[in-house]
Amino acid sequence: MTRLANGGVVNRQRRLNFRFNGQEYQGLEGDTLASALVANDVKVVGRSFKYHRPRGLLTCGPEEPNALVQLLSDGDQPNLRATEIRLTEGLEAKSVNCWPSARFDLGAVNDWLSPIIPAGFYYKTFMARPWDFYSRFIRKAAGLGRLPTERDRGRYERVFHHTDLLVVGAGPAGLRAAQVAAISGADVMLVDMQMSPGGHLLFHSREIEGKAGAEWIAEVTAELKGRRNVTCLQNTTATGYYDHNMVLAVEHEPEAAWLRERLWHIRAKKVVIATGAVERPLVFPGNDRPGVMLTDAVARYVSRFAAVPGQRAVVYTNNSTAYEHLELMLSVGISVEQVVDLRATLGEAERELVQRNSIEVVTNGRIIGVEGRSAVRDVRVAGESGIRSVSCDLVCHSGGWNPLIHLYSHAGGKSVFDQESATFIPGEPVQAVHCVGAANGTFSVAGGLGEAAGIAGSLVEELTGKQLGSYSSRPEVAEIPYGINVIWPEKTLKGKAFVDFQNDVTTADIALAVRENFQSIEHVKRYTTAGMAVDQGKVGNPNVIGLVTKELGEQQGSVGTTTFRPPFMPVSFGVIGGSEQGQLIIPARTTPITRWNIAQGAAMDEAGANFRRPFYFPRAGESMDDAVAREARAARNACGIYDGTPLGTFELQGPDTAELLNRLYTNRFDNLLIGRGRFGLMLREDGRFLDDGVTFRVGPHHYLMSCGTGAAGVVYAHIDRLLQTEWTDLKVYLVNVSAGLATMCVCGPYARDVLGGVETDIDFDESFRFMDFREGRFAGVSVRIARVSYTGELSFEINVARRHALMIWTTLMNAGQNYGITPIGSETSGVLRIEKGFVSPGHEGDNITNPFDAGMAWIVDMEKPDFIGKRSLRRDLDLGGERQHVVGLLPDKHRALVADGSALLPDPGGSGRSGFQGHVTAACFSPTLERTIALALLKDGHHRHGEKVLISGLEQSCLATVTAPVFFDPQGQRMRG
């Protein structure tokens, strides 16, 4: 064990047992999985993606590229970073991308084969057949981790939140920004991905305004939490910045204990990004060996978790930051064997520090090799006095800092290269984003605090109009000034030197890409995979860009950067779905009869507009075909009943309603009498079908319009838009009453008898004509009953308030018992429709068909002054030419299986036509006609009745005779009689 006896924020009184790669270990409460592994001397935590090289922890935070694990104990979650997993009792995890184990991985053969599998090798190698052969192996090798096979039992939640100011990051700059903004009274939200606020102050011993860093954090945090206008969230990762200042953040383990994660949709007026920076690796041969770790990470493991990752360290750096950690390392017993500094000279503070602690420094030095495969044994150092081996078990390196500007990039910002700090920093502000502190390239704490206060103050002044100035000064902070001298990596290095650890991209790969003339950084990224996938170049991007620039012979910063894309960290599918899972995945709509239908064993099906309707009502032992045939026969020979409530119903009131209807429909409505209904056809501006339905005139200026279920929303929006924007002179009010009115349809030869058996003051005698409606009492409640038909049978449609619907339905079922009343589903309705050849906009209307093509010229009044679509119809008529027409098809085989959408081809033995002729729009087996029938769109179909066409099927084709589309009761006597 390498756990210190004192220090850190871990609870030594509470030991936690966990398993990693099959081995039992113990950690402490407050550990992450990574820190617990460090404390247990576990060096190898995983294998690299391509070469399967053993890898250890490189970092201590979300940027960790190596320690990807499969979490087995809390569901089965792949590709989580060990640095981000809070240790819990019984936790079990294993490394990904290795077999049989991380210690011994057969995939490591790739490391030996690396000369023949450089960057982009697959583009050159797998161009020839047999691709199927290659793909088997590639698919096996691809990917990290394993998809879970069990249902995720975790609970998730999504929440919308609005705030005046969002601060992302609770390091010193973020805390100061929130503190200043909160004084104004503005609503402030502070989100931070760490378990505790403080950022770098948690492990950098610094004094701020005379207070220890920890004390300053505690004071500011307490102040913020005491304010009602501040919302503080720890353990919350801002994963993406979208348009109009929408930031998505995932809160892990929220205070609501039943939740695993909560997704915050945060809409902020202003956003301060104080996400800090991550340390950049140095690039040297063997820089990926277990035991080679960033200096910042070493400091974090020691300070936060009291876990010591090595005993004898070599520190390799090009900047001053590493020096700040030397005394910490010495204080916990790490022997600093040597500091290798790429710079020629040290700053005064650094020189004093190493002299005070008698640490040997090699200036102008380089590490040119690391020995040891699964753990570091020694390093070879090249300095001005030659090459020397230094024995060690830990290499700490620091290549400077990369501001975490991912959110700024998501927002649309373009970063710029800062020569002084040798890194990319945010450029011009975009949306309402303001970066402060290290995220803005301000690496001194004092500078970050001053910047944050200034920005936050000006933002809340803008938001609230209140003047704030007292926090804008630059506070006193004791720290070593940041100095860096970057020597960008070179292609001449021997051995593998990695620039992107997660995607296994080496300096040689980058050099190869440039040699092959990839000059754009975006192209290099895609060719080599550097900076792609879940890592998104958090630690490696600047080195990749630096090397590309160097290879191209350009000035640093000239090639630009790649684009960081959301999410900043992987987001679980569970939290994207939130609570809307299982039955809640679709906002399913019901009618008052839905439960009755389900209780009767109806097979339910999607019916448009999120309604689920009975498809058919199977009885014991019945197949779907049997049930549909029984229901269809009942409707034709006895009595059927179905729930038409999902249809859209709108009230139209006002003196200009008739004029409105005249403009909406192709036929006339200004002569419709009160008490009568009329079928209407609604077109779009292009003369194609929008919808159809029956409209009733209820009073002088009062109409009731019905429309299709799926089209109801579109039709309502269409009319509403016209009234609000185009025809504002029309005095008409439109009200949607669809859900308030239940609609029940009773159809068939005995329909009149069934309705007559219910107590009512409405006469259902012969005077009740087709397209009449009557109002009255029926079974004790007010109803409106219309004689309309969607089945071709004598049919009555009953409108009743939703609250009475189920009572009316059951009353009808009881009244119809002696007449064989049978509930019918939507599949049966479809069969009845096809038999009657009723054109359905959803089937025969294919965005090309016009009413003339559909044989509906009878409903188009081209003499009317105008209606929507008239101009386009006129153009169709003027243009002429061959069009597809709606026809009926009678297959030669009476029980042929014909699928909707089947292509129609010329009769091979016939007409002389060639090529595609049309397609089947709807087909079924008609129980009434005892044969297969179909409706179709066929080229010049109106003039081809009697011809043969070939219905092309996937398994078998068949010839069919073209007919008129009405197969049953062509005169409509049953419906109108």
Binding site: S579, G582, R802
Partner: protein, 169 residues
């Protein structure tokens, strides 16, 4: 294992949808002896009757189910030649009452509007849990009445239960 909130179905309410010109509104006000809220999202209440301003020419009258017919009749009789529409929409909507300290935590899961700006005695319309909804604020942060299209009632009921920390559907 749930939020501090009580969610219940409103079973005694009637809603009348009013559209009309300014002249018609004046007659509505006389009929109900209640000045209509003219400002956006405004609500006026008197003797158990609430009038909600949904749009510049669009209001809801919320009353009890028992008074539905009488209110409809009064309003209808008040209109003579003015251009107006009165529609009983009680059955078109289902209502839910959301009451408790965590009411906002439940509502904010389904409503993307900035609820900080909707105060006690106001109302708003928006997309709630992917359905259209109208929200009446009876006590900001604590008590809200939500109306959704009745066909969504079963879904919204299960959704609210789940959002409140229950099992949902």
């Amino acid at each position: 294992m749930s939020y501090q909130v009580k969610i219940s179905v409103l079973d005694d309410f009637a809603l009348l949808n009013l559209r009309g010109t300014k002249a018609a509104v004046a007659r509505f006000e006389t009929a109900l002896e209640l000045e209509f809220p003219k400002g956006a999202q405004g609500v006026r209440v008197r003797d158990g009757v609430a009038v909600l301003n949904l749009a510049p020419d669009h209001w809801w009258v919320r009353t009890s189910l028992e008074d539905e017919d009488q209110t409809f009749t009064s309003l209808s009789e008040a209109i003579t030649i003015e251009h107006a529409a009165i529609t009983v929409v009680s059955d078109h909507f289902s209502g839910f009452s959301i009451v408790g300290d965590d009411a906002l935590l439940v509502l904010r899961q389904g409503l993307s509007l900035d609820l900080r700006n909707i105060a006690t005695g106001q109302c708003t319309r928006g997309s709630f849990a992917r359905c259209g909804g109208t929200l009446q604020v009876l006590d900001q942060g604590y008590h809200y009445d939500l109306f959704v299209e009745a066909s969504y009632a079963d879904y919204v009921s299960a959704w609210l239960d789940r959002a409140g920390g229950g099992g949902g559907a």
